[in-house]
Every structure is written in structure tokens, then in C-alpha cells.
């Protein structure tokens, strides 16, 4: 089975959020980057699928869009066990909307003729959660989102999809297909020194928007960004036990919305 995993490099979760001079995005100087978490789960799922059918052979190819620095994250993915990579070098990722990015990915993936395309559910920076679904639409493939587990069947795939409030659902679909993977379905493997050293010898093919012939203006733009108003702080609910309990129930009902 040939599996493509679309991954994204995102600012480290610890990154300090400062808005840049133009007010359009965060200041990227001094930022550190990491592999998007749900993409790490997508990669893990792909590696496990390949390992499960090791006899049948298989290939895991990672693909990522972004500037040169994305090469580092691609290396990490190769270190974890991907066989080769496609890097769509693109310095204006911020100017492209989800459709634009998906077009780049679809154009790069199409000639590979994969059996399965996996990607994380959503990115930690933009949180759009759309790229995989749009890629499926552009390639004319069936898709399923919020997937925790993938099983190969005679005819295609059987996947476990997360629904709201602790419910799940099994979905069957033919291959080739696109799945977006939810975090937590598998246990992630850690990166190893040996993996990093071996990754140096794996192929990373570089493509560009121009070489893929993708060029369309965005239909949605991020006009400006702002820091949210409120900071999290502890609210102590005063009064007698009864009063405090009543106040808490109000909060649970209207603010936490769990009642």
C-alpha cells in the first residue's frame, strides 16, 4: 500500500505569541517550529499500516508545503520511518487559503497514485481542519474525517470515526481515499538518533507552485489578527456552601455548558 501523509510545520506550542508589525500574523522571528500534532498521529497511523502489511510491501511518502525551514520537520518525519518526502517549497503560505494549499498538495500527490492519503485533523496554528477534505474533493476521492483507527479490508478500508460526546462510528469506504486523523488514536513513537542519521540518506524532492502549475488567487484572506481579551484566572466562588454550590451550577450551565 502506498500511503501519502500530508504534514504541516507549525509554531511550537510553547511559542510566545507576538503580533507582527503589519498586524497580519504573529512575529515569526525567534519562533521554533514543530510537526503539527494530529499530523504526527497521521504519520504514525501510516507507519503502522505499512508495518502491519510489511510482507505486501508498501511505502510512506510525506508531503509538506512551506518555506525552507519545513525541511527540518520533513527530516523528523523521515527519521520516524517515512520512506521519502516531497517538499513543496512555498514562501507565501500565509497568503494562500485552504483551497490554494489543497490545490498544491493535490497537484503534487496526483502523479503518485497513492492508495491512501492521510493528514492530521487540523493544524495547531490556523486550526482550519479542511485541507484533507478539500484535497479529497479536488482529487475526486471519498473521504472521512476524525479518524482514530484504520483497518484494511478486502475491498477497501474500515475506519473508526469519532462523533460528539463520546460516541463513535465505523465507516467503510473504498480506496483510494483521504482520511483526516484525530490525535490520540495511536501511541506516537519517539524520534531516535538512529532514525535521524538514517533520514539523511532518504530522498526529499522539492517542488514549487510554479512547477506544479498551480496559480489561483485566494477567495478568503486573513485581514488582521488580535490578541484575545481575557486571560485565564481563577474565580473563587464565595459564600456559604449552598451559595457557592448554586453559583457553581450557574457557571457549569452557562459558561462551561456541561449541564
Amino acid at each position: 500500500m502506498k500511503i501519502i501523509v500530508a504534514i504541516k510545520q507549525v509554531p511550537e506550542r510553547d511559542a510566545q505569541v507576538r503580533i507582527d508589525a503589519a498586524g497580519k500574523w504573529i512575529d515569526e522571528s525567534n519562533l521554533q517550529y514543530a510537526l503539527n500534532e494530529s499530523d504526527a498521529y497521521a504519520l504514525e497511523e501510516a507507519l503502522q499500516l505499512k508495518e502491519k502489511s510489511a510482507a505486501a510491501g508498501g511505502e510512506v511518502v510525506v508531503v509538506s508545503v512551506g518555506p525552507e525551514r519545513v525541511g527540518q520537520t520533513i527530516r523528523e518525519a523521515l527519521a520516524k520511518g517515512a520512506d521519502r518526502a516531497i517538499h513543496i517549497v512555498c514562501d507565501d503560505l500565509g497568503l494562500r487559503d485552504a483551497l490554494g494549499v489543497a490545490r498544491l498538495l493535490a497537484a503534487a500527490v496526483k502523479p503518485e497514485n497513492p492508495d491512501l492519503i492521510l493528514t492530521g485533523l487540523q493544524s495547531e496554528d490556523l486550526g482550519l481542519g479542511q485541507t484533507g477534505v478539500i484535497v479529497a474533493e479536488l482529487l475526486g476521492l471519498p473521504h472521512a474525517t476524525l479518524i482514530l483507527n484504520v483497518e484494511k479490508t478486502e475491498t477497501g478500508l474500515k475506519v473508526k470515526r469519532e462523533l460528539e460526546e463520546g460516541w463513535f462510528q465505523t465507516i467503510e469506504l473504498p480506496t483510494p481515499a483521504v482520511l483526516t486523523i484525530q490525535s490520540g488514536g495511536n501511541k506516537l513513537r519517539y524520534a531516535t538518533l538512529m532514525g535521524i542519521k538514517r533520514a539523511k540518506m532518504k530522498e526529499v524532492r522539492q517542488l514549487t507552485a510554479a512547477s506544479l502549475g498551480v496559480d489561483a488567487p485566494p477567495v478568503v484572506v486573513l485581514e488582521h489578527v488580535a490578541l484575545p481579551q481575557k486571560q485565564k484566572s481563577t474565580q473563587i466562588l464565595p459564600g456559604t456552601a449552598k451559595e457557592a454550590a448554586a453559583a457553581l451550577v450557574e457557571k457549569l450551565k452557562f459558561e462551561v455548558r456541561v449541564l
Binding site: R13, Q169, V221
Partner: protein
């Protein structure tokens, strides 16, 4: 281009609050753009839903009906809605930001050459749509620049759903049935029946609500007090290490560095002081509530809401209040 279309989601025989919030958002957008607001509901038997929606101050209600829409599939729903949108050509389409919408709306938007602006928390003049970035640490304002319809989905709780006014002056909206052209071959995925995750064993990691008890409970005999609270809330009962060490609760209910890592919507700590070994296990909780008699207990550092008091008084009071609220 003719108005704002709100896509209402029906599941398990009812329309959830978030859909009414989407209607509210649609109405706000309609007011901004001075456009009429309509709604659509998709399914195989939508009559009663349509009637319920029509009671709201809306222009039209579309019943998108087809036997192949009985169960949700991304192919079926995007095909059907695509046809409705082509027929009605709305200027804006508003969805509730649910798992279902996240599953098909991006594909629908792409089919229209558009991009869904998802998880919107506010609508500003222009219109510009605000959504959270970097996991809530940044807000971004998005503006559609394309020529086609604009699609947005709204975050749960971002817009206040007005209760339908009893005996409202406006006449109910007209209900139109729209039958899309669908063939079973076009639907490529086969969904199974929904099921509950692992009810056999305790699975704290996927629990939505957790009541966690610590040393403050003093004795195993007092545990029913906290168990009652968990039952009233519909939450899982968990504990810190000393409680499980003492055998008062099984080890599988232990939260912390040597137990489970949990990320519920609500974590309610009772008599938990907040040792680091425990904090690392529950730091992913969305909302943390702490009840402890020691105002300096570290758990209050990470809590959203705190009650400083004797748990033997607060917990029974809280259980009663929750029961009352649930009725």
C-alpha cells in the same frame, strides 16, 4: 444572490442548541447585509424539523429530502446542498460548527470554488468573520474576497440562540421541499451505527466529565458523597494516587503521572491539593473546578473556578443543586 441560508443540523430526532445559534448568527448576518434569512434541513424525514424551524422569524425553510439522506454521508449531504445552493444561489451560507459540518462543508465549499470560514466566533462589519487561531491564543479576522457565496460555520456558544417567542407576530415561514437528484453510486462511504466507546473498562482518557477525589476525603467511608456528585453530574469518578494506593478506588481510576492522563471538558477536584504528579495528569482539562478547604492549595492555581470550603458541606450542597438544575 438571494439572502442568507442557514443549514440546520438534525441528529437523533432533535435539533441541537448549536443549530439555533447558527440561525441567530444567520439573522445577525442578514441584518448586517439587509438580506432575507432562510434555513434548510437535510434528511429523509424532515417534516417535523421543518415545522419547528419555521416557527422562527425566517423567510423560507427548505426541506432537502431524499431517501439516500436518511443517514449522514459527506457525499450525500454535499451533493444535495450543492444542488440547493445552485438553485437558490444564496449570498451567504451559515452552518453550525459541528463534527458533521466539518466533515462535508469544506468539500462543498471547494466544489463552489470557495473556502469555508469555520468555527466563527463573531461577525463584524464588512462582513469580517472572527475565528480563533493558535488554539485560542490569537483571534483572526477573515474576509471573503471571491465572487461566489460565502460559507461560514459558527462556534458553539458564540451566538445566543433566542428562544422562539410564543405566539410571535410574524407568520411562520413557508416550507418548501427540495428533492435533490441522487444516486446510490454517488455515495461512496458506508456509515455504521453510532456506538459508545469502551463501556467495559474505565476509560478516563475519553471521559467528558471527571470528578476527582483526593486525600481531603479522609476516609473510604466518605467516598459515596463524591460518588453521588459524580452520578448527579454524569461524570466518571477518579482519584489521586493516595486514594488508589489505599485501595479505596481501583488503580485504573488514578489520574496523574503514574496513572491516566485525562482531558475532559470538566474536571472537578474534591479535596485535591494539586501535587505535581497529579497536575501533569489533568492539565489538559478544558475547565477545572476545585473544592478545597486550604485556600493556598496549588490546585487553585490551575482552577477556573474554586470553592474554598469544607468538602463535607460543599459537596452535598452541590449534588443537590445539580440535581435541581437537571430536572
Amino acid at each position: 444572490m438571494s439572502g442568507v441560508l442557514v443549514v440546520v443540523e438534525q441528529r437523533e430526532g432533535r435539533i441541537a442548541r448549536i443549530s439555533w445559534e447558527a440561525v441567530a448568527a444567520g439573522q445577525k448576518l442578514g441584518a448586517t447585509l439587509t438580506l432575507p434569512v432562510s434555513a434548510a434541513v437535510v434528511g429523509a424525514q424532515t417534516e417535523s424539523f421543518a415545522a419547528e424551524i419555521a416557527a422562527r422569524p425566517l423567510d423560507k425553510v427548505f426541506r432537502v429530502e431524499h431517501p439516500l439522506l436518511a443517514r449522514y454521508t459527506p457525499d450525500g449531504f454535499s451533493l444535495a446542498l450543492h444542488q440547493l445552493i445552485q438553485a437558490e444561489s444564496p449570498a451567504c451560507i451559515v452552518f453550525p460548527h459541528t463534527y458533521q459540518v466539518r466533515d462535508y462543508a469544506p468539500a462543498l465549499a471547494a466544489r463552489l470554488g470557495q473556502v469555508l470560514i469555520g468555527d466563527v466566533t463573531a461577525i463584524g462589519d464588512g462582513p469580517v468573520f472572527t475565528r480563533q487561531l493558535l488554539q485560542g491564543r490569537l483571534n483572526g479576522a477573515y474576509r471573503p474576497t471571491g465572487s461566489g457565496p460565502c460559507l461560514i460555520s459558527v462556534q458553539a456558544g458564540a451566538f445566543r440562540a433566542e428562544a422562539p417567542e410564543a405566539g410571535a407576530s410574524a407568520a411562520p415561514a413557508t416550507v418548501t421541499t427540495f428533492v435533490p437528484t441522487l444516486e446510490s453510486a454517488q455515495i461512496r462511504t458506508t456509515p455504521g451505527e453510532p456506538f459508545r466507546g469502551g463501556s467495559q473498562t474505565v476509560d478516563l482518557s475519553s471521559a467528558q466529565m471527571i470528578v476527582c477525589v483526593g486525600r481531603g476525603i479522609k476516609d473510604a467511608e466518605n467516598l459515596p458523597l463524591v460518588q453521588d456528585l459524580a452520578t448527579a453530574l454524569g461524570a466518571e469518578l477518579a482519584a489521586s494516587r493516595p486514594i488508589c494506593d489505599n485501595g479505596w478506588l481501583p488503580m485504573e481510576r488514578q489520574v496523574g503521572s503514574s496513572g491516566q492522563t485525562v482531558s475532559p471538558k470538566l474536571y472537578l477536584g474534591v479535596g485535591i491539593s494539586g501535587a505535581i504528579q497529579h497536575l501533569v495528569g489533568m492539565k489538559g482539562s478544558q475547565c477545572v473546578v476545585a473544592i478545597n478547604k486550604d485556600p493556598d492549595a496549588p490546585i487553585f492555581e490551575v482552577a477556573d473556578y474554586g470553592i474554598v470550603g469544607d468538602l463535607f458541606e460543599v459537596v452535598p450542597a452541590l449534588t443537590e443543586a445539580i440535581k435541581a438544575a437537571r430536572q
